[in-house]
Subunit: 208 residues, 2 copies
């Protein structure tokens, strides 16, 4: 056997090992708010649109310059990120820790599902917006392209288990696969989940 | 076969199923502080001892009437529980979320291990105590008696995986078994871990 043949075999073995490991970058999503055009105008003034501060990992999504305060009868959280672009429904994504501190009873839903969502007031320098039935704890999920899905042997809406490989490893169940050609490969978990597994910047998850 | 014989067999099967499930009550430990006699006197006055408010699940341990404030240059957390009785070393047990909000770099250690522990000031109405090298994030663990250990087929200092059976199931790895005739069966996790798995009052963990 020639050296080149051996190199080729070794390269194939390494590639197959890499595929079987299925390492996914894991990102912690901080608390944030998605607003409608109507809510943006109510909170930041007639004719205002969200101003991009920086792009997020998913194409088209951005962190805006705008910030708002969440208020309930029990507490408040200031300086909360507003993500753009504007959406068809107001959606407030908090951790369980946030919900407890604000006294909000919110369901664990996939983004976009406001079934049973909780209530909160959004307060800015210009106004107050009643964001009734808008608060969810975002269910963890993995964004990927069809090519990623093929590589990892999974399909859209499939539920998988993921082990987060950190100094305090944790396995999450019922993690939803979301496939779209525009997505960028990333698992999204909230800050409770991130702190429970001591997530670091370069931490990876392994589907199994 | 008589009805009694059948009853006996069914009872044995049910018992074996129950054993194989190895369900452990799971308790979330809120942030708290253990103090030395010296620290109690520095914070609450010469000759003062901790006053019991209520017993905790582990025999001899109690929640005291005393409360203190944790302070760093970055932030503070007020109204923190002080557990009794007094110990040989000051130990401050926080979640990663707490550590981030206070800017403390703390290790994940078993209770009693202050190797690499972080720094914080303890403040009361009477004084301020420099609790250097006292802050840890308590590593999750299971308290049990020798009889429980035999039932679950584990031994002291063994590391096990535990699946928390909630609406958002999570599996924790490297959970330390701690066996002592005085212990009461309970798994202890911190609030980040509790919120990551949406722990409820009657939630159970399963060793595997």
């Amino acid at each position: 056997m020639t050296e080149n043949q051996i190199r080729e075999i070794v390269a194939r073995v390494i590639l197959s090992l890499d595929n079987s490991e299925a390492s996914i970058p894991v990102e912690a999503s901080a608390r944030h708010v998605h607003l409608t055009k109507e809510a943006v105008e109510a909170l930041f003034g007639k004719g205002t649109t969200l101003t991009k501060k920086r792009d997020l990992s998913q194409p088209g999504e951005f962190l805006s310059e705008q910030r708002i305060k969440l208020v309930t009868s029990k507490g408040e959280i200031a300086n909360v990120a507003v993500l753009g672009p504007e959406r068809k429904a107001v959606q407030v994504e908090l951790s369980m820790t946030d919900c407890r501190s604000l006294g909000i009873k919110a369901p664990i839903n996939l983004s976009g599902d406001l079934n049973g969502a909780g209530d909160v007031y959004l307060v800015s320098e210009c106004g107050c917006y009643n964001a009734a039935k808008s608060v969810i704890v975002a269910k963890n999920h993995i964004h990927m392209t069809p090519a990623d899905a093929e590589k990892y042997g999974v399909s859209d809406s499939q539920s998988v288990k993921v082990r987060i490989e950190t100094s305090r490893p944790v396995t999450f169940e019922d993690v939803m696969i979301r496939v779209n050609p525009n997505f960028s490969l990333a698992m999204h978990i909230d800050f409770d989940e991130a702190n429970a597994c001591c997530l670091e910047k370069d931490s990876k998850g392994k589907i199994f």
